[in-house]
């Protein structure tokens, strides 16, 4: 049903923005809704946020096309769609807005905040009007933050960082394994059967897993064990702690199996589940070993959710605002910020790029974080080539050459033989002294005057290679070859002109 663009989720939006003029196919406005509902409704262990984000951005892009908005405005409307999608799914308008900045890496100028915020709020209001004010996770906040507990939260930050790192590493590994399978049937059979077995043994892995998170938050951990195959052994004793840790790891595996098998869904909800179980585990261990006094389990569970959300998605602010908003618990602000920041720093040290970016990099499609890299990527070597420059045959004499020079506005002449093979170049400087000696006109030939260029570009070179060659040689013009065949000349000034033009259209600044 999803013809080919399935399971790429957020990375496919990033790709559409950088390489496809922010145009998303029209069927994307509903196809991901249908398929992800089936995946998750039948127990696929992934989240709905990635499909709804794709849907929202497709709505933005297609309305933008319908009403003839240009590339910059369309990109902004995609941002609006993404913010509104997250905002309406989780009833969290600020988190939706921050998600757009941090996860989609949309560079918004302050002046363009307003439409995105408007969309975000409109999305939240629409869901509220239709399904009431529903708070996804409620936790009774008994105590606010105490300075004496600071070290515990710092430890939790490092711990969630490590858990996030495991999450990312398993995901990268699993993506490779599934990508190496030959047919579409192998991943499906292997992935979905293993998933079925996991869910059968551990029903907590069924679907998004929000029921489990709610149970942990209300201090009802036995509920998770009760339904399980292993309930006889784990029931209410110390084995609960390793059981929870097992769930942390198995959820990561189950989410990846679902995606690898071809299910449609994202990693946002799984990272919430992993965070909640990891936090509960952490607090239980501290309490069990007597390293700390009585701890408020719900606080640690919630804060760890933010920690893993930040770490696994490289999005420090999204995690903070997300948890604060969905629990309407702003009392937790300080521990949330501490844990999220530490988790983010830990992950960033080992894993510099977020998962969607890495997916694009693996395919060589990542367009860069800053405008400069992005613009240079967009420049196409083929479009910059000047092929109308007069070429010279190696056997022509100086006299004929002077004639050519007189009739040309350039000071660079590529020497190309009859079969089109590039021989060298002649610049005006090479012949300046000889030009005024008519007696040499007939006994000097181009082949004696030409020299090799500092380096040559190949037509299949990417723009980054081309820029590197220009930087290394300091040349202003370089010949472009296809193998040995001469194609044309690329000049720095032409690159510069094109660069300026693209840079102007790249920044998402709207004068509001």
């Amino acid at each position: 049903m999803n013809h080919g663009h399935l399971g790429k989720g957020i990375s496919s939006i990033m790709h559409a923005i950088s390489h496809k003029s922010s145009i998303l196919p029209r069927d994307m406005t509903y196809s991901h809704l249908v398929t992800s509902g089936l995946t998750v409704g039948f127990g696929g262990s992934v989240g709905l946020e990635s499909p709804i984000v794709v849907t929202g951005s497709a709505i933005g892009s297609n309305l933008g096309m319908l009403f003839r908005f240009n590339y910059r405005e369309r990109t902004l409307l995609i941002g609006c769609g993404v913010a509104a999608a997250i905002s309406s799914l989780f009833n969290a308008p600020i988190a939706g807005f921050v998600f757009t900045l941090e996860i989609l890496l949309l560079e918004l100028a302050v002046s363009s905040f307003i439409p995105v915020l408007l969309a975000s709020v409109a999305g939240a209001i629409t869901t509220r009007a239709l399904s009431g004010t529903e708070i996804i996770f409620t936790a009774e906040m008994t105590d606010s933050f105490e300075v004496a507990q600071l070290y515990l939260f710092m430890l939790l930050g490092a711990f969630t960082g490590i858990v996030s790192l495991v999450f990312i590493r398993i995901s990268n590994r699993s993506r490779k394994i599934f990508a190496n399978m030959k047919t579409t049937w192998h991943p499906f059979i292997a992935g979905s059967l293993m998933l079925g077995i996991l869910i059968f043994l551990f029903p907590a892995l069924y679907g998004e897993g929000f029921t489990t998170i709610r149970a942990l938050l209300s201090g009802n951990a036995d509920f998770i064990v009760e339904q399980s195959f292993f309930s006889k052994w784990v029931d209410g004793n110390a084995l609960l702690i390793p059981y929870i840790l097992l769930l942390v790891v198995l959820k990561i595996v189950a989410a990846n199996l679902t995606q690898g098998a071809g299910g449609n869904g994202g990693m946002f909800a799984p990272s919430l589940f992993v965070g909640a179980t990891a936090g509960y585990f952490f607090a239980q261990v501290l309490q069990f070993t007597g390293l700390s006094g009585d701890l408020h389990m719900a606080t640690f569970t919630l804060v760890a959710m933010a920690g893993v959300l930040c770490g696994a998605n490289h999005a420090p602010l999204t995690g903070v605002f997300f948890i604060a908003e969905i629990t309407s618990g702003y009392e937790l602000m300080i521990p949330l910020v501490i844990v999220s920041t530490l988790s983010y720093i830990t992950v960033k040290y080992f894993e510099p790029h977020p998962m969607p970016v890495r997916q694009l990099m693996e395919k060589g499609l990542f367009a860069g974080y800053d405008s400069d890299t992005r613009v240079i990527q967009k420049l196409d070597v083929r479009k910059l080539i000047e092929s109308e420059i007069r070429t010279i045959a190696p056997e022509i004499s100086l006299g004929e050459l002077v004639e050519v020079v007189a009739n040309s506005s350039r000071n660079l002449f590529p020497v190309v033989d009859q079969s089109g093979v590039f021989q060298g170049i002649i610049t005006l400087d090479d012949i300046r002294t000889l030009m005024f000696k008519p007696e040499r006109y007939n006994d000097t030939f181009a082949i004696q005057l030409m020299h090799a260029p500092p380096t040559v570009l190949q037509i299949q070179d990417g723009m980054d290679t081309a820029m590197k060659k220009f930087d290394e040689t300091g040349a202003w013009n370089l010949p472009v070859l296809d193998g040995q065949q001469y194609v044309g000349i690329i000049s720095k000034s032409r690159i510069f002109g094109m660069y300026r033009q693209l840079l102007a259209s790249d920044t998402n600044r709207l004068d509001m």
């Binding site: 009403f67 439409p115 869901t127 679902t258």
Partner: protein
């Protein structure tokens, strides 16, 4: 008159009477509402299947069905 003509007329009217900036704000609100509808629909759609499957499970009281559900779900997705 066909829809494309109406759109054309609307776009012309828009360019005469509403500034692009204000129109963009209007569209962003529209996108927000559409995304809100989409996510409500999605939640309902997931819920629909979950309820249905829980019902089936209760009727048969056969836990091994949990082995099969994800397989069916992903098969339908592909």
């Amino acid at each position: 008159m066909n829809p494309a003509k109406w759109l054309q007329r609307f776009l012309i009217w828009r360019s005469r009477h509403v500034s692009k900036r204000n129109f963009l704000l209007l569209i962003s609100v529209l996108i927000g509402i559409a995304a809100g509808l989409a996510s409500t629909l999605l939640k309902w759609w997931v819920h629909f299947w979950e309820e249905l499957l829980i019902g089936i499970n209760e009727d048969f009281s056969f836990e091994y069905l949990y082995l099969l559900f994800p397989v069916i779900g992903i098969a339908l997705t592909i």
